[in-house]
């Protein structure tokens, strides 16, 4: 009797395994978009290239482990070029979902090109792996179909900057501040959050200039003059990489030296900014300290040094800069991989459950992956830093971490000499 039961069990298990293997797809289709041209190409291509690097690496190893089928399955990136155009992006996201029937949907880089994906994913009940779209409006309690993989959500991202101004600012002599931002979801939200943090702190800080400009702005000379007329002790510019390039170049060109100048992208895309603004234009600029400078301990995937070596090997021609976004794309790949290894099926809500189960547990080269209940990333916080000339090599810049104090590696240079 026992033998019969044992044989039946073994036969049943073998049949179930066979059935599972037969149901397993030949590949896991990951649908995404990239911008090979237009305003967001410089933040999109590094993310996409990094995701490709991850996919190629995994496929060379036989694919990713998918718990739902208990086997390794190759991944296939189904990717289209949205040319930085939101209308094109909408059409293509729809195509990925309805025509290509991808298993996983991954947004393009940045909030502007993530916005159409967030809506389409929700409409089609697909879980969106949001790579770097940090806009606050994407995340709400009634939308379970999104989570932010690689950057802090914009509502908390500028907290270290605001805390520095509120706590250390008055002592340093910062009493009047100017805020300039590009009017889009990403930088607009950062500016709003920063303003709110500063006001709520009750610190004796007066906002003497607070203006938004179109994201397409490429010339800031008049605006810089207007800001200078308000005699601020610190200027905070929230813009995309091309905005920061134009802004910092114009600051140099008109010969105005603000006592403190904060911009987002000198920290996020340092290589790109160095090429375009020059080392002199970036010296003493305050910015976010990128993960590449913090060297987080990882429990999954390559560490920063290994990843940089892999990137240089994969993209030796140097046409795509290695920076924050290149790290973000690879981080997305790692999170997808880990999610698939935990999810018991490819059902979209199961993918969400699996993804959220990694919160606080997964440590990648981008820091600790941690989500709030709405899917906003709250783990990969970036400290405030300042760019200074490297003592050993004055032709290079180095990051000095300024705030929070517990991670600080130096004191701020204020006012700018």
């Amino acid at each position: 009797m026992l033998k019969v039961t044992g044989a039946a069990l073994i036969a049943g298990l073998a049949m179930a395994t066979q059935a599972m293997a037969a149901d397993a797809p030949a590949e896991i289709k990951i649908g995404t978009l990239y911008a090979s041209s237009g305003r967001f190409a410089s933040i999109s291509m590094p993310v996409y290239s990094a995701l490709k690097l991850w996919a190629n690496q995994k496929n060379a190893d036989g694919g990713v482990y998918v718990k739902a089928f208990d086997k390794k399955i190759p991944v296939k990136l189904v990717a289209y070029d949205d040319q930085s155009n939101t209308a094109t992006a909408s059409t293509l996201y729809n195509q990925l979902v309805t025509q290509d029937k991808v298993d996983l949907l991954v947004a393009d880089s940045g909030s502007v090109l993530t916005a159409p994906a967030a809506t389409i994913a929700r409409d089609h009940k697909m879980f969106l792996f949001d790579q770097t779209g940090t806009g606050a409006s994407f995340f709400s309690k009634d939308n379970p179909y999104i989570a932010l993989m690689s950057d802090p959500v914009s509502t908390i991202w500028p907290k270290p900057v605001a805390d520095f101004v509120s706590h250390d600012g008055p002592e340093l002599g910062i009493k009047k501040i100017a805020i300039l931002y590009s009017t889009n979801e990403f930088t607009g939200t950062q500016a709003n959050a920063f303003r709110k943090f500063v006001k709520d702190s009750g610190a004796p800080i007066e906002i003497v200039y607070d203006q938004g400009v179109p994201t397409e702005t490429t010339n800031y000379t008049v605006i810089i003059n207007n800001i200078n007329n308000t005699q601020p002790d610190a200027v905070f510019h929230f813009g995309y990489a091309p905005n920061d390039i134009a802004f910092l170049r114009n600051v140099q060109d008109v010969g105005i030296k603000f006592k403190m100048l904060f911009c987002i992208y000198p920290g996020l895309e340092t290589e790109l900014l160095e090429k375009n603004v020059g080392i002199k234009g970036l010296e003493h600029v305050f910015t976010y300290v990128p993960p590449s400078e913090l060297d987080y301990k990882v429990n999954f995937g390559m560490n920063m040094k290994e990843y940089k070596a892999a990137w240089d090997k994969a993209y030796p021609e140097g046409k795509i800069e290695f920076g924050f976004n290149a790290v973000a794309g690879y981080t997305t790949g790692l999170i997808i991989e880990k999610t698939l290894s935990v999810a018991s099926s490819l059902d979209q809500l199961e993918l969400r459950r699996a993804n959220f189960s990694l919160s606080g547990e997964l440590k990648t080269l981008d820091g600790t992956f941690a989500l709030d209940e709405m899917g906003g990333q709250i783990g990969e916080l970036t400290p405030l830093g300042q760019l200074e000339l490297d003592d050993k090599n004055p032709e290079k810049l180095k990051f000095i971490s300024i705030y929070p104090h517990e991670t600080a590696t130096g004191k701020p240079v204020y006012p700018r000499p």
Binding site: G38, S42, M45, T183, T218, P242, I245, F247, R249
Partner: protein
Amino acid sequence: MLIYALVAGVLFGLYFSLVGIGLNLVFGVMRIVNLAHGDFLMLGAFVAFGVVTLAGIDPLFAVPLAFVIFVLVGLLLYRVLVPRLQGSVNPEMLSIILFFGLSQVIEAITTIFAGTSERSIQSRLLGTVFSTINVKFFGGKPGGAGPISILGQGFPAPWVIAAVTSLIAIAFVYVYLYRTRLGTLTRAVMSRRDEALATGIDVDRVSAAAFGIGLGLAAIAGVFAPFMFGSVTPAFGADATVTSFAIVVLGSLGNPLGTALGGVVYGVCYMLVQTYLSSWADLLPYVLLIFILLLRPSGLLGRRVRVA
């Protein structure tokens, strides 16, 4: 603030005159809309990148180089594209499609070779030839020029250099149109193409020259683009074409010298909007286009030259 905005507007506007004048010259002579105009501007910027990267010299040397290269490119392109276009039933409409395609091809090829990232040239490199002359012959001090003071306010040196170059280019177009035989023939073709053809003018030769010069002027404007717009990417052309078109219509479609006025009006309006209503600044080209088409369809300096 007002004076700063006005002076900045004039400098910026003079540069925009240079951006648009080539487009208008081509339209005035051939009645075709060159939607790849901005892409030739972008290519001019890449000539400047080449001059700085490969030769390590002042990007100002890229001005004559870009002009010569793109005049030749223009002559070649004209021979390949334009006669067939002119022979079609509706050359104006077909030119829009043809040059849109050309624009896409130029952008794609440039992206393949140069990548998608922003590129720029350090502002201190522009005009180093002047500081070298100053040091060598007038005992000046070495170092970058820094901002230039106008009415007691500091303006970026590249803006002033770009504005002066634009004035020279506009003067060149004026001399070409009003002081040379080819220019007289060009004006004849601009005025009435069919009559010019009937009187025995070699319309093809005149048009080819105008097309070449138009592209050459766009390329010169492109040399200054990295300084005026912070950086340039292969996708830069589309925006530049839209702005050029607004300036051309503002000045007067078909009247190249009207573009000079259109550029300055655009520049001043842009700087004033940036000063007082900064969030709305990017709407300006379209608002100006609508206003001018509603109030004065022939443009600020327009006569009855526009047939489109």
